[in-house]
Symmetry: C2
Subunit: 238 residues, 2 copies
DNA sequence: TAGTGGTCTAGACCACTGA
DNA sequence: CAGTGGTCTAGACCACTAA
């Protein structure tokens, strides 16, 4: 593996890629330390990190802040047309979901949220911030913004569970029309901190704008996914 | 965390970001040379390039291989549920589309294509490779794979135009069901060369699997978009 | 041909993680 | 507390672009 042109970024990428694809490194397994790897490939840490960055961009490996580099687990299918919440979606694909609440409060609506939810200026909104895991790995940071008119007292409930189910059970509100906007971008500092990754890591930003059965705008989600955690699938009938 | 420390990656990012957002750099405009910028921010090229890389990940700037860094133009909406081909989609949004054919030929189907199109092993497929521009900027590299059974003689036509229209006009074939798979990843060397960007640049990979009005699998597209060129929008009725 | 981006070297210090 | 990743310095050479 060291014979062909080593010491260059592409050669290091190829070598690591082969090792990973042939399963020589366990899925979710940790790579050796950067200094070890740079020694192994007879190069500097800068060059080695350049190669790791390219593999990260491809989605083959990922890093946890100050903890090292790991082999990426398989992606989970995300199908916007199928009405399924996080726990159901992940569970159906044989993976283990988990949710933790970072914070939940009433606050003055940011201008962006006012526009999305068509609220008058200086409205209050309920913000719920959560982090979600698949098989223990942090993959999603979400900010939910709820129109407080429709959800009185919701901050008193257990928010680690599915909001979809909570809406239905406690408020008789069900999702109707939904709009998704998906953009590949980088994690902002807050999302990066929540997912414990380096700020600026590549991510998929998904904005969900939800209406209920009466076509009222009820809430929106700002989702930041690790870019290597999902595959978006859309099937168009006709 | 630490504010107003100059000479750091985040500080450089913030400074450049503000300049761009306040329109001090023209949209599509070229940034000063890396050496000039690193001098301006009193830092090294390595550090400066780290900052540029983060802005690139955010989609604020992009680079052309060996030509420099430019401010990203606005994203174009890509709506999988609306049956619209590239030229129509781009034109409707007030932008100027263009297409060039890189190559078109009959070849033995790669295994991946065999599986997608449900072809027997060792089948032949028609491959059409194209690059597409918006306002002159290369943003999309596509490989089309057509089941040759349904498109005899298609290599003789003008392939810079819409395949959708060609299918309808010459073969009476119209799209029926379509499946999209979208994955944030990096450009492979061939796509990078076609788009004249550095291999390993972030990209959005979209696989389209198309059926016709009789529900026959007729072709598939492997699309590689510059990650900052589009926003995917899906509206779910009901 | 001059200047540019692409790549690489050979170190260094700090903050944090995990034993 | 040792080792790790995150960050930064101060250069260098090459291939290519644009004038």
């Amino acid at each position: 593996m060291r014979d062909d042109a080593p010491r260059t970024v592409t050669a290091i990428c190829r070598a690591l890629q082969r090792q990973i694809e042939h399963g020589l490194l366990p899925l979710g397994g940790k790579l050796p330390a950067e200094r070890k790897l740079s020694e192994l490939f007879d190069t500097t840490r800068i060059t080695l990190r350049e190669a790791l960055g390219q593999l990260e961009a491809q989605g083959l490996i990922y890093r946890e802040e100050r903890r090292g580099w790991f082999v990426s687990p398989p992606r989970v299918d995300y199908n916007p047309l199928v009405r399924s919440h996080f726990h159901a979606m992940v569970g159906e694909q044989g993976r283990v979901p988990a949710t933790e609440v970072i914070g939940a409060r009433l606050l003055p609506a940011p201008v962006e949220i006012c526009e999305l939810l068509e609220l008058p200026a200086l409205s209050a909104v309920i913000q719920i911030r959560r982090a979600r895991r698949i098989d223990g790995r942090l993959v999603l940071y979400v900010e939910h913004y709820l129109n407080p008119l429709y959800f009185p007292g919701i901050l008193g409930f257990d928010l680690t569970r599915s909001l979809t189910e909570l809406y239905a059970r406690e408020y008789r509100i069900h999702y109707g029309r939904v709009r998704f906007d998906m953009v590949p971008t980088a994690l902002h500092p807050e999302a990066a901190a929540a997912l414990r990754v380096t700020p600026g890591s590549p991510a998929l930003r998904i904005v969900r704008l939800n209406r209920d059965q009466h076509d009222r705008l009820i809430d929106c989600d700002l989702e930041f996914w690790r870019h290597d955690a999902i595959q978006v699938r859309v099937e168009v009938p006709q």
